[in-house]
């Protein structure tokens, strides 16, 4: 790994910027976490709507709003769709959200890529704890980015994005795109795409 976290190389970053970006990535991580009652409530969805409004994405915001009001139980609805897209489903699990599935060529969990990504976390002082999920789950990767940005390590975060995250996320999007009809997950993945966009 080339990144050794030479601190002098870090771009100077305003504290506010670092905190905001960290919060955004933490929020993105929640969007791709299995929805459960511990966080998935009205406040969460309100926040999503506010975020979309602030980004001038009024129509996306409206979609979320319409969806929330049209289903009896948004949590259950989100759970069903999450299960179908990411866990198990018929006709098939649409897109398992793990890097190795897309990067290692044999459609497998816990591949070489998983090991590489976990090692990258560790080199920067983080690890996945208390989980029976592989370390390269999209949620963990976004959480890692959140922590890294909170520490102001923008170059580490950007390196992780371009080297680890974007290459598989792109393939993941291709696999999921045709099935991405649910407003919540359509907008969520669009938001992630937006925030991992490379600086030009």
């Amino acid at each position: 790994m080339e990144m050794k976290g030479d601190s002098h190389k870090h771009k100077t970053v305003e504290p506010d910027e670092s905190e905001s970006l960290a919060d955004i990535f933490a929020f993105l991580a929640l969007l791709v976490r299995y929805p459960d009652i511990s966080f998935f409530d009205n406040e969460f969805l309100d926040t999503l709507e506010i975020l979309l409004t602030r980004l001038n994405l009024e129509k996306s915001c409206l979609k979320i709003s319409i969806w929330r009001n049209s289903v009896e139980d948004p949590l259950l609805d989100a759970q069903l769709e999450y299960t179908r897209l990411f866990i198990n489903a018929v006709p098939h699990v649409i897109a398992p959200p793990y890097a190795s599935v897309y990067q290692d060529g044999d459609f497998s969990l816990q591949g070489k890529t998983t090991e590489k990504i976990r090692n990258f976390y560790r080199q920067h002082g983080f690890d996945v704890v208390v989980s029976t999920q592989p370390a390269d789950h999209i949620q963990f990767e976004l959480e890692f980015l959140s922590y890294i940005y909170r520490q102001g390590q923008f170059d580490v975060g950007d390196y992780f994005l371009s080297t680890f995250f974007v290459p598989w996320f792109e393939k993941f999007l291709q696999k999921i795109s045709e099935e991405l009809r649910h407003p919540l997950y359509r907008v969520s993945l669009q938001l992630i795409t937006y925030f991992v966009k490379e600086e030009q």
Partner: protein, 266 residues
């Protein structure tokens, strides 16, 4: 010393364990293989109806066609005989034939991933492994090493260890007392043809009809060296990093952000 492998077709039952154990051992990308098995027949041969298998891998040839085409900048490299400790220094590109154990190896650090060696091998034993891409290449040449890292720790090659039929025998062909040398005496031969005679050190033995069927798999012509490709690869070396960056920058933010924008327009 010349490492070699014998594959005894009288014993092989075509179970594919060799290919899969190799894949597990070296975490080979699914689209490639260092070890492969082709199921041949049942088909008529001059000696009768036959069905057998072609378990293939790098032949670590006496005159390896892959070595001479490597365009990487040559360096001086010192080799050491594992047994005697004797050393020898020679000028090599990024792939070479080891002067002591006779295996053909690749320096992944210096390989530029041009694929010239893969093109030059008449057996198709090499591939460019995209998993090994670095800042300067799209991948690195890769192939069977005769499991030298395993052998160095006293283990058998992965394919040999897993073979339930004991159809794969590994050892030093130069040692007349070795099993492999005995098999050569009994008539084990490499997969060669009139125009392809580069001294393969992976050899096969079996009854006449099975061998007749196997020999249909021998390459009939040496591949023509793709000089243009080699030169191109050489020229492109310094700009590799730059090209890769352009590729990456183009990845994110195109596909779905566009849809997001379009969604907004609806």
């Amino acid at each position: 010393m010349q490492y070699g492998m014998i594959i005894d077709l009288d014993r092989c039952v075509g179970c594919h364990a060799c290919a899969v154990a190799c894949r597990a051992e070296w975490e080979i990308p699914i689209q490639y293989a260092r070890n492969w098995l082709r199921r041949l027949g049942p088909a008529n041969t001059p000696h009768g109806l036959a069905a057998t298998y072609y378990p293939g891998l790098c032949n670590h040839c006496q005159q390896p066609a892959c070595v001479e085409v490597c365009p990487a900048d040559p360096v001086n490299m010192t080799f050491k005989d594992a047994k005697t400790g004797k050393t020898k220094t020679m000028e090599v590109a990024a792939t070479w034939k080891d002067p002591f154990n006779g295996t053909v190896q690749i320096d992944k650090k210096r390989c530029i991933g041009c694929g010239a060696c893969a093109d030059a091998c008449p057996y198709g034993a090499r591939y460019v492994n995209p998993d090994l891409a670095d800042d300067d290449s799209e991948g690195k040449a890769d192939k069977c090493t005769y499991c030298m890292p395993r052998v160095a720790t006293g283990l058998q090659p992965a394919c040999v260890q897993t073979c339930l039929a004991e159809a794969r025998i590994f050892g030093d062909l130069d040692d007349p007392n070795s099993n492999v040398a005995k098999y050569v005496k009994k008539g084990a031969v490499g997969l060669t043809s009139k125009n392809v005679q580069i001294g393969p050190n992976t050899r096969y033995i079996g009854n006449k009809k099975d061998m007749a069927l196997l020999m249909t798999q021998a390459p009939q012509e040496m591949p023509e060296a793709n000089l243009r490709r080699t030169m191109l690869a050489d020229m492109l070396k310094p700009v590799g990093r730059q090209m890769k960056n352009i590729g990456l920058a183009g990845l994110a933010g195109t596909l779905l952000v566009k849809t997001l924008a379009e969604d907004e327009k609806e």
